[in-house]
C-alpha cells in the first residue's frame, strides 16, 4: 500500500496528528490490516518559496511509476484512487 499525499503535502506529516504525533499509516493501520507492506510516497511539489517545484505532472507520474517499479515485488498491483472533493 502506497499512500500518496496531494500536491504541496508531506509524505509523513500530512498523515500525522499534530498533537499526539501518531501517524495513521504507521501506528494504526498495521495493527488492523496484516499481510501488506505499507509505504508512503513523497515528492517535491512546493507551490511557494525558494524551493518551488518546477516539475510538471508528467514528471511526477514518471518518477512515481519508476519508484514503484524499483520497489515492487512480484505480487499483484492494484490502484486505489481517492480524491477529496
Amino acid at each position: 500500500m502506497i499512500a500518496v499525499t496531494g500536491l504541496a503535502g508531506h509524505a509523513f506529516g500530512s498523515w500525522r496528528n499534530r498533537e499526539t504525533h501518531r501517524m495513521w499509516l504507521k501506528d494504526f493501520l498495521p495493527h488492523d490490516v496484516k499481510n501488506i507492506r505499507i509505504m508512503s510516497y513523497g515528492y517535491d511539489s512546493s507551490l511557494l518559496g525558494r524551493s518551488q517545484a518546477e516539475n510538471r505532472l508528467l514528471d511526477y507520474q514518471r518518477l512515481f511509476i519508476q519508484d514503484i517499479e524499483n520497489a515492487r515485488s512480484s505480487v499483484k498491483v492494484g490502484v486505489l484512487v481517492s480524491t477529496k472533493s
Binding site: M1, I2, A3, V4, G6, L7, A8, G9, H10, A11, F12, G13, S14, R16, N17, E19, T20, H21, R22, M23, W24, K26, F28, L29, P30, H31, D32, V33, K34, N35, I36, R37, I38, M39, S40, Y41, G42, Y43, D44, L57, L58, Y60, Q61, I65, D67, I68, N70, R72, S73, V75, K76, V77, G78, V79, L80, V81, S82, T83, K84, S85
Partner: protein, 228 residues
C-alpha cells in the same frame, strides 16, 4: 489473508462525474497514474473483513470534509480511530479503512516540537541499539528517552530504514549523510538522514506473505490547486 481482508469495488458515480466535469490538475494526475498502470477506473474502496459498502455504512464512519479555506485538515488522531467499528470515508465514499483498536500507549499531548526524521541505509543486521550508538556519536546529548525509532525493511535494497521522532533536531536537520565510524560499527555504513520523505518510505514490517500491492493516491488539498 489480505485477500480476505481487502475488497475492491468499482468507483462511485460521484467520482466519475466529478473527474469528468472538473478537469483539474489533480484529476489529470490521477488519470496519468491510473492509465500507466493499466488499471484505470478500478477500485476506490478498502473495507475490512470483506464487508460490503452497505454494511460499512451502518457502522460508525469518519468523513473527511473538504476544508473551504483550503487549509490541510489534520490527519486522524487516536481518538478518531478508536472504537471497534470505526472507518474512514471520503465525502464521495471512496476510501474506507477498517477498525482501529484503542491504544493504551497513546500519548495525551506530546511535545509539539517533535520532528520525524527518516534514516536510510541501516544494515539489515542492525537493531535499535546499534542505531542509538550511531546517533549518539552525532549528538552526545541524545538519550534513550528521546529515542523511539521504528526500523523497517527498505523499499529498494536489503538495508533498513528508520523513522525517528526527535525534538533535538539541531544535530540532524542539516545533515544529509552521516558516515558511521568504525568504532561504532565495523561495517561503517553511510546513513542518509532527511525529513522531506521524498520517494518511497516503508512504514511497517510486513507479517507473513505479502499477497497484494495497492496504491492509494490521495488528493488532500484540492483548493491548493488552481482550477482550470
Amino acid at each position: 489473508m489480505a485477500k480476505q481482508i481487502l475488497s475492491i469495488e468499482q468507483p462511485s458515480h460521484a467520482l466519475r462525474k466529478a473527474m469528468s466535469q472538473r478537469r483539474t490538475r489533480s484529476a489529470a494526475f490521477l488519470d496519468l497514474v491510473s492509465t500507466t498502470l493499466h488499471i484505470r477506473g478500478r477500485s476506490t474502496r478498502i473495507s475490512q473483513g470483506g464487508t460490503s459498502a452497505s454494511a460499512q455504512s451502518s457502522s460508525k464512519q469518519q468523513v473527511i470534509d473538504a476544508n473551504p479555506k483550503g487549509k490541510l485538515k489534520q490527519p486522524l488522531d487516536a481518538s478518531q480511530l478508536a472504537g471497534s467499528s470505526t472507518s474512514v470515508t471520503t465525502r464521495s465514499g471512496i476510501l474506507a479503512v477498517g477498525t482501529g483498536e484503542p491504544r493504551s500507549d497513546d500519548p495525551p499531548n506530546s511535545n509539539p516540537r517533535l520532528k520525524c526524521f527518516r534514516i536510510s541505509g541501516l544494515p539489515s543486521s542492525w537493531g535499535e541499539n546499534d542505531l542509538f550508538d550511531a546517533l549518539h556519536a552525532i549528538d552526545p546529548c541524545l538519550t534513550r528517552q528521546d529515542y523511539q525509532p521504528s526500523l523497517n525493511p527498505s523499499c529498494y535494497s536489503s538495508t533498513q530504514t528508520a523513522l525517528l521522532n526527535m525534538d533535538r533536531t539541531e544535530h540532524f536537520q542539516h545533515r544529509n549523510h552521516v558516515q558511521v565510524s568504525e568504532s561504532v560499527s565495523r561495517s561503517a555504513p553511510l546513513l542518509t538522514i532527511d525529513s522531506h520523505f521524498y520517494n518511497l518510505t516503508p512504514l511497517n514490517v510486513p507479517e507473513g506473505e505479502v499477497v497484494a500491492e495497492l496504491v492509494i493516491v490521495v488528493v488532500r488539498a484540492p483548493d491548493a490547486i488552481p482550477r482550470c
